[in-house]
Symmetry: C2
Subunit: 542 residues, 2 copies
């Protein structure tokens, strides 16, 4: 027997309808590519999202066809979020930091029909336009009349001209809530990127959960600054969650330097900001010498990589800002865990609280995690035992775009590719990537632990630990090191430096000195390329 | 094209699974009917809910069959919430404050197969058992061996004996999320009660929304005291929402006097409590003479009826507790609006903030409201214009149990039966019940406004305003008054008292003095009965 309650689909269009109706004068403030500050409201965003929908109708873009964006965080990008998905098309956000040939590959794989881009990225568009036959229309996110001459791009129009004459009312379609809403490709370090195709339902359930007090804690009293880009996992879903909660939205555009971000935070009364550690490093680097304070910022969520403990302490002790670690990935929409304390932890000594806050945190309702050993069995939650981190839930991928095979194991769990521990209270800590962990004699060695020791040595600029085949132990770690300019360091000196810092059997078998460690487009070390460089290397202990 | 994310149904069983896995040691504390304090955990609640499911299997209760409860707020009732709904049956919570014949009518209408009751309600059960042929098993919520002899009830078992030998593991069924989960009857003042049949989906979406920062703001750092009964609209959904957020739960059992509630709040570190104004009146009445303070309580949600401004001020100024008004009804699961400020209101003078906090508040994502005039047209949001309050959303009723007709209008809106205003920021204020508002010459007069003036007179104990037929104005108000013992008041004296307090045309046409105003089981004035008493009354102005 079914219940007798109303049954409305969970749709992205209902988010913008709600924001416009109940928080219509709520502000959306953007620093534009042009450098100036632009102000609009949730009500106006809805009107222009409806104009986008009308423009897509006129362009003949069919239901579920993809509309690409190559854009910074800003109001026009927000209008596309709601106008494209709300009208039943799929919003495909593309990462402009990828190489042009990767972008072209992704656009072709997605079969984007329209591509909307910020003028910063015109050179990329010029480089790829001829290789993207599915794109019938190129939309430059600029004012009418600001389109440069002689771009060499056919079918190019300015965004403002494109939507200007569309009606300001649009009847959103009543879609099945499982309809695809948006598409984001992983920046995989091996093979081609893989597309994650979100649905309206997964997006709304993620928005509900992400706004909860133990997650991002969003209300109509917040001014939210997503420094995390809208071109990468939808700025952690903040465009959707803030529409749900009627928060003020503040967009930084391309200006992520410390001064610009600080001025935006203070000028717009930002209470909550989300970003990666490097941006906060720049922010603190600007504030300290200028003796600046925050007047309203009270919390920030940091993800992408672990935040140095010193930065957490600085934010908390000097600036009164809580730093919350988050963990997620494109395949998780992206949020999987967030680190907020339980009531039982409030009385802990500060050092113990800090140990907890350094972890990636605990899952919230809607997503579950576990760690498994090599045999697939669930590992204990003791805070020490490593295992492959698995996830499942309402906003976790089931299969990749255009792939027939499920991305899950038989029991429906997604293999995240991370290695982690989980403690007795369910707090998860990432220790490594699965493909980087060294499996030595049945035991696991975290490559990150080995790298951190080497990087603590004053002569070392960067260090990468990789596993090398070994006849007896399967694998043994070596550490590849780039020294600081002018520094000197002997092999045995570095190996001796490990004494007392890791277990004896975890000390690397060898040191390889290189001029530089290869780095990818997203700032991560490219260990695959490092392994190619080392393909003729032989372990001295083998 | 559908999205490619995992698709799990939204099920009540997943709430208790989450709470047990991620907040397994989270406490559930109950004052029992016996008077002692009982302590358990979310993990243990799940185990025993699974035993309930097993016991229902053994009793042959089929999927979607109803299991009734007649019980206070406590851990066994909580186990039934998850065990009954989680295993695919429908939890039917019955209000023990109704008359026995009403309870019997409801049990028969619902066709309850099993009835679980607290020992406080044994006399009710003894009175109705013979009239409830569908009930095959009566379960007394008491320890094994504590069942009294000679109850005269066949097929009676103690709860502890009933579940004792069931396995502590149970495979929850993977239900369609639209499956009926629970049933609650409205306490309508006219006609038979009507059943609202919730689904797993409506319950989970309501839980997500109700835990949001702008609603009940629930986290794993909260200890939550639902004074609102689990037998009436599921204690405002708190059993579900706290499982979702891993909050500590504190149940008051039958002891709602000021001393008991205060001791529970302090003894268990309660941070958040939800109830009706009368309970808080008793609490404050106990605290003031004993000069007591709250150590952790920081907010309370008040619903059911409007909270007197003086009580809000006392809570805030003397005790540092925020009072949040909520509005809801059985047909809304129950939450429709809650009164929290927007950022723009933070800078308002205190008196203006207080005016806002006296309203029932604004809707949150998932439910929408509007007010309509007599022609059905939406009324302006100016904070002055009255209209019939309409609602729609994910947890609003579509039709009543065993009724073929939709409870909605053609556009899908539910007529709440309340009359309200909505201001420019979307804050709603209830001004009357639709059936009580007086329609005089095309204008509406709030019966509540007229009653409040009379009740402000020192001689008046209680006042009820009703509309009387009038040949020219359609209706004109009269006020029915019960005086305080020994007090005297003349008709014209009271009518003169209205001068300057309401508009001239709103002053009642007459005063009728009575010994007492009839009151219903839930403490509300029974205007229907009053109208019967007045059936031969003639307006002097007609």
């Amino acid at each position: 027997m079914l219940g007798l309650m109303q049954n409305h689909p969970l749709l992205i269009s209902s988010l913008i309808d709600f924001a416009a109706r109940h928080h219509g004068d709520g502000e959306v403030v953007s620093r534009r590519v042009e450098g100036d500050i632009h102000r609009t409201t949730w009500a106006q965003v809805r009107v222009r999202a409806m104009q986008v929908a009308g423009a897509l109708d006129k362009a003949g873009v069919q239901a579920s066809e993809r509309v690409g964006t190559l854009a910074w965080n800003g109001y026009r990008h927000l209008e596309l979020y709601f106008g494209v998905s709300g009208s039943g098309r799929v919003l495909h956000t593309v990462n402009p930091r990828l190489l042009p040939e990767q972008i072209a590959w992704i656009v072709n794989h997605a079969e984007d029909q329209v591509m909307c881009f910020d003028m910063s990225f015109l050179p990329i568009i010029q480089a790829i336009a001829a290789q993207c036959p599915t794109v019938r229309l190129w939309v430059a996110l600029c004012d009418a009349g600001k389109l440069p001459e002689g771009t060499g791009i056919a079918n190019l129009v300015s965004y403002e001209e494109w939507i200007a004459h569309q009606p300001t009312q649009y009847a959103w379609p009543e879609l099945d809530e499982n309809t695809a809403s948006s598409l984001c490709y992983t920046s995989g370090t091996t093979g081609h990127p893989k597309g994650v195709l979100y649905s309206h339902r997964s997006t709304l359930l993620h928005a509900f959960a992400s706004a909860l007090p133990d997650v991002m804690n969003l209300s109509a009293r917040d001014a939210v600054l997503p420094v995390v880009p809208m071109f990468h996992v939808n700025a952690w879903g903040l465009p959707y969650a803030t529409a749900m909660t009627g928060s003020k939205l503040v967009f930084p555009g391309p200006a992520l330097d410390g001064k610009s971000v600080y001025e935006l935070i203070e000028g717009e009364g930002v209470t909550f900001a989300a970003g990666v550690p490097t941006v906060w490093q720049m922010l603190l680097g600007y504030m300290a010498p200028n003796q600046l304070r925050f007047s309203k910022l009270n919390r920030t969520v940091i993800g992408g990589s672990a935040c140095p403990p010193a930065m957490i302490a600085t934010f908390r002790d000097q600036y009164g800002v809580d730093v919350l670690h988050a963990w997620g990935m494109t395949e998780l929409s992206p949020l999987g865990t967030l680190c907020t304390l339980k009531d039982k932890h409030r009385g802990l000594p500060e050092a113990e609280q800090m140990n907890l806050l350094l972890k990636q945190g605990r899952p919230f309702f809607g997503v579950d995690i576990k760690i498994v050993g090599e045999n697939g069995a669930e590992q204990p939650w003791d805070g020490k035992t490593y295992g492959d981190l698995m996830a499942r839930g309402h906003w976790v991928v089931e299969r990749y775009f255009k792939q027939d095979d499920s991305a899950l194991d038989e029991a429906g769990w997604f293999h995240t590719g991370d290695v982690a521990t989980i403690d007795a209270d369910g707090y998860m800590q990432i220790t490594d990537r699965s493909k980087d962990v060294i499996k030595s004699g049945g035991e696991w060695i975290s490559s990150i632990d080995i790298e951190n020791v080497a990087m603590a040595h004053p002569a070392v600029a960067m260090a990468a630990c990789v596993g090398m085949p070994h006849p007896k132990w399967d694998e043994r770690p070596i550490v590849v090191v780039a020294l600081k300019p002018g520094a000197e360091l002997a092999r045995d000196e570095l190996l001796a430096f490990y004494e007392g810092k890791v277990a004896k059997w975890q000390v690397p078998d060898d040191v390889v000195f290189v001029d530089a460690i290869p780095i990818g487009a997203t700032g991560k070390m490219l260990k695959t390329r490092l392994r190619e460089v080392l393909k003729d290397y032989k372990l001295p202990t083998a």
